[in-house]
Amino acid sequence: MSNVPDDLRYTNDHEYVQLTDDPDVVNIGVTDYAQGELGDVVFLNLPSPGDTFEAHQAFGTIEAVKAVADLYAPVAGEVVEINGDLDADPALVNTDPYGAGWMIRLQVDNPSDLEGLMSPDDYRAHIGE
């Protein structure tokens, strides 16, 4: 069984969205289910702070030993920070996807867009768990 924390929101593409103290800023990464399916992560191609993305637009790629996957912006917004630790230690995505394995911090254009994301229960159903 994959870990699907109750305090996060999710997408069809297996990203999670974590709210922060700032209602306009969220942390984004991939779910425990996604890291398990991908296997050992070798490196990530992440955007730069200041880059802007529409919802569902690819913002980067995740390269694992056996597979490569695109990363999609859950909602529209501007990147305000990336997790620089992943450059030296991409395995953080495998070992701590919801903590040290976060990928980008996004300033969202419309906080109300977040309401359209999947609930933990919806995501569990999406992955068949």
């Binding site: 296997g39 050992d40 070798v42 490196f43 790629t61 390269e63 030993v65 056996k66 490569v68 495998n94």
Partner: protein, 367 residues
Amino acid sequence: MTETLRHTPLYDHHVALGAKMVSFAGYEMPVQYADGILEEHRAVREDCGIFDVSHMGEFEVTGPDRNAFVNRIACNDVGAIGPGDVQYSAILNEDGTFIDDCTVYRYDDKIMLVVNAANRAKAWEHVVAQKKGTNIRLKDISDDVGLLAVQGPRAEAILKPLAGMSLEAIGYYRHTSGQIAERGCFISRTGYTGEDGFEIYCRAHDTVALWEAITGAGAKPIGLGARDSLRLEMGYALYGNDIDHTISPLEAGLGWIVKLDKGTRFIGSAALQAEKDRGVTRKLVGFKLLERGIPRHGYPVIAGGRQADIVRSGGQSPSLGIPIGTTLLPPAYAGIGSRFEVDCRGKLIPAEVVKRPFWTRGSVKKR
């Protein structure tokens, strides 16, 4: 259409160990276990791993004409080895390209050919069609045989307490028969990892008992993912990637298994003689990427501004920490140090031809 996947005798063990199962050559096989490919790869390089490769195919050739027959269907020279020897060889088409690569086990009274699982049916059909008037008997024993590979610098130490024969006495590419964990088997000092180790052929119904004994002695289960990264680091060819029905052994850098002067014609020999006379137009090379990226099978390879080939095999080398691969290049681009580019999902990444094997510090004992 749903395909019914076959299982080796160890299927339940793989699932119980938390393996991620994938479809491979008609079988449901473990690509990795719970610890993941990188940890499994490291375990084989530094310690000892065990692979279930029971899906491989084995053909038995008996009868008085067996050596002449094998010399006609395979390009290496079975006359150059004796009973107790193992030889790397290939079964070719008339045009000198691969039907499959194989290993040839010579015994006092028979020969065993070991072929890839994915090519078993095709190779069997081809071999049977060559039988014609020869006085031999062919038997596909694949379903009766379990095969475990025990690989790593500690392979001999781990097997030793279980072995009813002297493992020290088995030289590189030699085989013998005897007992492991009180089960009768054939054992050879061979493998596909670059490490010292053995391949153990047993009765299918003994596979589980042997697996339990050898894992109990400390060998770590290893899936197909690490099997691929280990063999890639050694530059060992994989059918479907580095070699296939469009590629000749001369192009693949396997001229050393092509014995044009063995005193008898073989299937593909005329085409290979002609290719040798005029020179190959492309060569399989090893390369490394000079910037971050992962060259995966099928990515376009660009040399001199034009697509020369695709990435044949490729991936991140776990032992070296760099992206490596193989591709077929025109001789002008195939020299060590030659530069070209790999199109990694739309981004052109510079690459450089390097020597194979990529990994040169393995424990394999060529004695």
